[in-house]
């Protein structure tokens, strides 16, 4: 009995997993909204706390937005594989005839769709509350795009490594933060440069390159980590 021809193609496997993840997020909106609310609250409470001095706000905004984005993403990464591990879906994913790195990529893409993308969409609002020049909005969204995508991809490695542990939260952050530092530094600095009216191409290029590196390597590392954690 051979059914090699009936196995759904790569794209079908990829898109059904992305669709399932988005559907799950839709049915449990709390999981999606929590990090987003966290991000929005940190970014809007900060101006209230430090006062309305325009100069001070503009000075601290890029760093603050990026720290909030990083923490919001880490917050939602914890649960990336936990429910799959607990209900046995992870076994079924690993045992499916689809290549596991492709499924890991689908998990990261779905995570970005429900966590990174909303952050980017609310970022203009944040820029507004920090009284930043409107010219910054584009650069901020672009750097957040590459940055959150890299975080979803790299974070999946940490989430996969810690999936079998009951309290993996702190460990996950420790594993991921070193990899996230370049994103934070370049992201915040690039937005600062944009606010000052300087050229930003170098920072954007670096973040794009970092994102491409994560895109090509992280799914393989995630797949290997999942196999080990699930043994």
């Amino acid at each position: 009995m051979s059914h090699a021809n009936d196995i759904p193609g790569l794209w079908q496997g990829f898109s059904s997993l992305v669709r399932r993840e988005v559907l799950l997020a839709w049915k449990r909106p709390g999981d999606v909204l929590n990090p987003l609310v966290f991000f929005a609250m940190v970014s809007t409470l900060f101006p209230l706390a430090v006062g309305q001095s325009e100069q001070q706000l503009q000075f601290s905004a890029p760093g603050l937005v990026w720290v909030a984005a990083l923490l919001a993403t880490l917050l939602s990464l914890n649960s990336l594989f936990v429910s799959d591990y607990e209900d046995g879906s992870l076994d079924q994913l690993i045992l499916s005839p689809q290549p596991l790195p492709m499924l890991a990529l689908a998990k990261s893409v779905a995570h970005w769709l429900v966590s990174g993308l909303p952050l980017i969409l609310v970022s203009p609002l944040i820029a507004f509350s920090f009284k930043m020049p409107s010219s910054v909005i584009g650069v901020m969204a672009l750097t957040l795009l590459f940055g959150t995508m890299s975080l979803s991809l790299l974070g999946a490695i940490g989430a996969a490594l810690t999936v079998g542990l009951h309290r993996g939260t702190a460990l996950l952050s420790l594993l991921i933060l070193p990899l996230a530092m370049p994103i934070l530094i370049f992201g915040a600095r690039t937005v600062s440069l944009a606010a000052a009216g300087d050229t930003t191409t170098a920072g954007v290029y670096f973040l794009a390159a970092y994102c491409m590196l994560a895109l090509t390597l992280a799914p393989f590392a995630t797949a290997a980590a999942l196999r080990i954690s699930n043994e």
Binding site: P8, S15, E86, G88, I94, E231
Partner: protein, 204 residues
Amino acid sequence: MSHLLSSHALSLLRGDRCLVRDLDFALDGGEILLVEGPNGSGKTTLLRAIAGLMEPEQGELRWHGKPIHENYQSYRADIAWLAHLIGFKYDLNLLENLAFESGLRATDRSRTESVLQRLGLQKLVTLPLRSLSAGQQRRVALARMLLATAPLWILDEPLTNLDAAGQSLVTELIAGHLAGGGACVIASHQPIATSATVRQVLLK
């Protein structure tokens, strides 16, 4: 001719305990490999090794005479896995779960309706799995096996949580699968009524 599934001097560790030592078996189409033993004797570990979810410490498993890890991706297309955990999302309903399933592995969707009817699930397809009883969830997991077109079924305690009708249904389904030339690896405390050849593995 090589056997469908065979093990050669297989040894398995769980933590630092050796659960299976130098195990040899051979299984052909239409046969059952029945794994028996008390709790904690390594039944699930052996099943996970047969599925390729864990690496053996020593020895190897062969599918059609070739080590399973040599061509693991195509081997995965040939197995269907049923364990204690349902392997579906509790927040989604049966149709959504099965739609995902058919994007992942080869399934015979034309049989969906008849399979659901046979399992008595046709009225429950739009409820989230969370709201089904343990026995119904078990039947949902069986739906995956029946829609999959895999020749090797690996079943860990397939009769758990099922009522008498459910248990005899599983026995029937296994018989049907074997009659079609498939093979089963089953870990069970309860005897499985069957007229097929049963190869026993007793773990201590």
